[in-house]
């Protein structure tokens, strides 16, 4: 019975909650925010303590990424990139370094830049570049995200690049199972010339030369999916409470000192849409 009264107070405007659903009171909204924050920090803690449970299942095929890259180049009237084994090794080394030192960046926390991996693998270049991606569902979404970013697109459609290398590697980053995609691009120095003209490479550039490991991770609980579900539920709950409140206030012709439910609904609706349309995956 008490639970019923509590629910009524929470969602139905009447005299006991000052004619406004209690869930919409500033104090209740603060509690909801606090609850969400606690759940997020708990999720962070859980990802660190149980990295084998939380993760991300992807289906990215290196050969498909390269095929799509070359398809974009052909559509722009450019020569396709050739897959190079040494560049594949470069991409593998970069991915391995990010997992080993737990970072997600073009330059490692110790200051190691992408070009050192080219040198380590013995790839002498005139031009070089690197595109990074993580946590995408499939090859199409990786290339699609790169093409939507002007700097990454510049790398894919750079006429100076002749070769490419790619690595798709699964591992644990910040305690979460992650799929990293590293695509590197390069134009080798002319064979006899030992005086390599090292131009300043472009971050976000790549062309796959060697197929790295095609890895399909096992399905796991994704922190992104969990957060998205919680976000949709929470915003949906408030949205629903606003609809009920607006309907009852209008029907009972209640006059009260309050913000406009219609405005709240419009704002919540737009942000709910933003949450729904936000897809997993990040590029660098």
């Amino acid at each position: 019975m008490n639970l019923l009264v509590w629910f009524k107070d929470l969602f139905i405007p009447h005299s006991r909650n000052n004619h406004k659903a209690k869930l919409l009171h500033p104090a209740s909204l603060s509690v909801v925010v606090a609850f969400f924050l606690v759940s997020q920090f708990s999720l962070n803690f859980f990802t660190l303590t149980s990295p084998s449970v939380l993760g991300f299942a992807s289906n990215i095929k290196p050969e498909q990424v390269i095929e799509l890259t070359n398809q974009k180049r052909l559509e722009s009237g450019l020569e396709p990139l050739e897959l190079d084994e040494t560049l594949n090794e470069v991409a593998q080394k970069k991915a391995g370094d990010m997992f080993a030192f737990d970072y997600w960046a073009h330059i490692s926390p110790s200051g190691r830049d992408p070009w050192s991996f080219f040198q380590e693998a013995g790839y002498k270049y005139i031009y070089a570049g690197e595109n990074l991606a993580r946590d995408f569902m499939n090859s199409e979404s990786v290339v699609g995200a790169w093409m939507n970013s002007p700097t990454h697109k510049d790398n894919i459609l750079n006429s100076k690049y002749k070769e490419t290398g790619l690595a798709v590697v699964n591992g644990t980053l910040n305690g979460v199972e992650t799929t990293l995609v590293v695509q590197v691009f390069g134009t080798p120095t002319p064979a006899p010339s030992q005086t390599a003209l090292f131009s300043r490479p472009r971050l976000g550039e790549a062309s796959a030369a060697a197929l790295a490991t095609s890895q399909e991770s096992q399905p796991k609980l994704s922190p992104f999916s969990l957060t998205k579900t919680a976000a949709v539920f929470l915003l949906g709950l408030i949205f629903g409470a606003l609809v009920v409140d607006a309907f009852l206030v209008s029907r009972k012709k209640i006059i009260r000192l309050s913000g406009k439910n219609l405005a709240h609904l419009i704002f919540m609706g737009f942000l709910l849409l933003a949450v729904i349309l936000t897809s997993q995956g990040a590029i660098l």
Binding site: Q40, N148, A263, A282
Partner: protein, 82 residues
């Protein structure tokens, strides 16, 4: 409809914001800034709207801050997950 022009203004602001949010799908930092600007714009809109209607009260202001904070925090945490 009463207050139509105010609501159209709000919808315009939010539509522009959502379009930019989707346009910068590849850049999480820009998306975070867009959400923060939208939240601030919403609070300002509410303050302006109720001031024009001569019904502004600090409790109403808090309500707009609460709604804006809740929605933006949820979106920001989602963006930070990738």
């Amino acid at each position: 409809m009463k207050d139509l022009k105010h609501y159209l203004g709000l919808i315009t602001i939010l539509s522009i914001g959502l379009s930019l949010f989707l346009l910068f799908d590849y850049n999480r930092q820009v998306q975070l800034i867009i959400i923060l600007i939208l939240a601030a714009a919403y609070v300002l809109w509410g303050t302006f709207f109720h001031s024009v209607k001569r019904e502004f009260h600090w409790r109403i202001f808090l309500e707009y801050v609460g709604v804006a904070a809740l929605a933006s925090i949820v979106v920001i945490f989602l963006l930070l997950r990738t």
